[in-house]
């Protein structure tokens, strides 16, 4: 048997491997261009005290998490359990909530009912801060370092495995970095 008769089979196998890998990829996980870039600025009213504002600048020198959530989002409810547990067991972690395109009243009610793991939540009623952060599917979670650089983005709901194996080790690593 000549080698060239095996060529189509070889090509087929190579293609099959590539297509197989392609099947396993999640097209909804779009890599964020924000990674290793400065956190986009915004100044928004706080959810619970609208007369006060919050801006990412206030967090300079601290490692913090920005969790984008909404009361209308079903998978936010799913991940909320893990965040409340996470905040309870790791009180030193700075978790900020960006309440994305939501009614402040509905959002407050949601937190009152399910527990509030956030240090502060801000109201992005128009979704324009979310747009600057490249939010396209809530929930999304960003990890920001002491210098105010975005270091990680999690698209979709987190669970205890992601929190324990990805988010927490990264926070610990970033905590050791210089300001």
């Amino acid at each position: 048997m000549k080698l060239r008769y095996l060529l189509p089979l070889g090509l087929f196998l190579v293609m099959a491997v590539f297509l197989g890998i392609g099947l396993k990829l999640d097209p909804h996980e779009v890599p964020s261009p924000l990674i290793d870039k400065p956190a986009p600025a915004f100044t928004l009213a706080q959810l619970h005290e609208p007369q006060k504002t919050f801006s990412p600048e206030y967090m300079k020198g601290k490692v913090w998490l920005l969790n984008v959530w909404a009361s209308w989002c079903a998978s936010c409810r799913e991940e909320h359990v893990f965040f409340t547990e996470f905040a309870r067991t790791n009180p030193s972690v700075n978790l900020i909530g960006l309440n994305y395109k939501d009614e402040p009243a509905a959002a407050q009610q949601w937190l009152a009912k399910l527990g509030n793991p956030y240090l502060v939540s801000v109201s992005d009623t128009e979704g324009m801060a979310g747009l600057d952060w490249g939010v396209y599917g809530v929930p999304e979670t960003f990890v920001i370092d002491k210098k105010g650089i975005v270091r990680h983005k999690q698209t979709g709901p987190v669970d205890s495995t992601i929190l324990q194996t990805v988010i927490m080790p990264l926070i610990e690593k970033l905590n050791t970095e210089a300001e």
């Binding site: 890599p31 261009p33 924000l34 747009l131 600057d132 396209y136």
Partner: protein, 151 residues
């Protein structure tokens, strides 16, 4: 029946609410708006552009495009604004760079490989000499003979 009419009325209102109408200062701005919204991908329903998508994100992005066009920004500035936030994925026509090298070159490569194989196959065929055995030649002659007899 009354209920049905009411339902239909309510439904028609909600459909109307989804279409936003923008007023453009010039027809040129409007056509640029059409081009841009057709070239930008909606990240929620990924096989639609933002012109066709009813997703809230697409509405927000259309609004951004409109605002930026009205404030005199160029197409390039708007595209940069989008890719800074959503990456190259937001573009239906991805730029040519190291990451997209395979994407852009694969079709040309496939054409070259295919063309080359076809060419070598043809060349191979041409060079093949068909040798007939004595009995085969005799049969061939006979066949040709009968055919010319019939004509």
């Amino acid at each position: 029946m009354k209920k049905l009419v009411l339902c239909l009325l309510l439904l028609s209102q909600s459909i109307h609410a989804e279409i936003e109408i923008y007023q453009f200062a010039t027809p040129e701005l409007e056509s640029r708006y059409q081009t841009l919204t057709e070239e930008l991908r909606c990240l929620v329903c990924q096989n639609q552009n933002i012109a066709d998508s009813h997703a809230e994100l697409a509405q927000d992005l259309r609004r951004k495009v409109y605002e930026k066009l009205s404030s005199g920004e160029s197409n390039e500035q708007i595209i940069t604004f989008m890719t800074e936030r959503y990456g190259d994925f937001v573009l239906y026509r991805p730029p040519f760079n190291v990451k997209t090298l395979i994407l852009w070159l694969a079709p040309i490569l496939a054409l070259i490989i295919g063309g080359f194989s076809f060419w070598s196959l043809l060349k191979h065929r041409k060079n093949e000499k068909i040798e007939l055995s004595a009995s085969e030649r005799e049969r061939l002659n006979k066949l040709l003979q009968t055919k010319s007899d019939k004509q």
